[in-house]
């Protein structure tokens, strides 16, 4: 039997990787990938809790499904934004699109 903590620590480390990647890489698409990693870590947590804390009840898994839905939607819209950005400004590097400064 694998302890719950193992799964949680795995999720925490995966999330940490995601954070580091999202902050390090300036390529917008790679940032998006890192965000997907973080969402995966969250799903891992949810499923683990569902399995260990409330066995036989599937709320955690249902919530994980909703997270997937949101992730899919986010990927679609995020990529659309990135494509539009590259088309308009010929730039994929988020450091060179400092529009938020205004």
């Amino acid at each position: 039997m694998i302890p719950l903590t193992f799964f949680l620590i795995l999720a925490a480390l995966l999330f940490g990787l995601g954070i580091a990647g999202a902050l390090l890489r300036t390529n917008a698409i790679r940032m998006l990938m890192c965000i997907e990693l973080m969402l995966n870590a969250v799903n891992l947590n949810l499923v683990a809790f569902s399995h260990y804390i409330t066995p036989g009840v599937f709320r955690g898994q249902v919530l994980a499904i909703f997270v997937m839905v949101v992730a899919a939607a986010e990927a679609a819209v995020g990529l659309a934004i990135i494509l539009e950005l590259t088309r308009k400004r010929k730039v994929i590097d988020v450091d060179r699109t400092t529009l938020l400064k205004w």
Binding site: A12, A22, L23, T26, I29, V47, M68
Partner: protein, 179 residues
């Protein structure tokens, strides 16, 4: 060490390694494939957690759909920079040092990521979890379906609406203007 534990360690190692390669791969296309690998190994972990439906969904949605559209996006965008390896010089040491440092933020991102991971690990270890015994056998997929269409019917519909909106939004955003 049980067989399960062996599988877990192997899958966890693959997950973390491929996760690292998402961040560190020289080419973004490689990063995308590593991401897909990481998704698949997380799906394996889901199976260890008796969540076979979710594992299937994970493979379909993440490895199938999300990874595919990201790869498509990379292929379809014609900005040279998107596939460049300008920020990844050759040489393992240089690469590693580059992977640990951001041009603008220095070492801070890595520090934040590591501290976050360690802090959460600490929190999890310290918390005393009261786990419950597993029921003998449950048909997970059927139960999830039951929950989704009864208790969570409204969120389910809202989620479908969200997907529709995202779809329309994505199309609108990428429509070429004029002509």
């Amino acid at each position: 060490m049980s067989v399960q534990m062996g599988f877990f360690i192997a899958l966890a190692a693959i997950t973390l390694w491929s996760g690292y390669m998402v961040v560190a791969a020289r080419l973004i296309t490689h990063a995308a494939f590593y991401m897909a690998l990481s998704f698949v190994s997380v799906a394996g972990i889901f199976i260890l957690l008796n969540a076979e439906f979710l594992a299937a969904a994970q493979v379909l949605i993440y490895a199938g759909a999300v990874a595919t559209i990201i790869i498509f996006a990379i292929m379809l965008s014609n900005v040279r920079e998107i596939r460049s390896d300008a920020d990844c010089p050759p040489g393992i040491i240089q690469r590693l040092s580059l992977n640990l440092r951001s041009e603008r933020l220095g070492i801070l991102p890595v520090v934040v990521g590591v501290i976050f991971g360690l802090a959460m690990a600490y929190v999890y270890l310290k918390a005393g979890w009261t786990t419950n015994a597993q029921p003998a056998f449950t048909n997970t997929t059927a139960s999830i379906g039951q929950e989704l269409f009864t208790t969570y019917a409204v969120p389910f519909e809202v989620a479908s609406l969200l997907l529709l909106v995202a779809m329309v939004g994505a199309i609108i955003l990428t429509i070429k203007e004029g002509k």
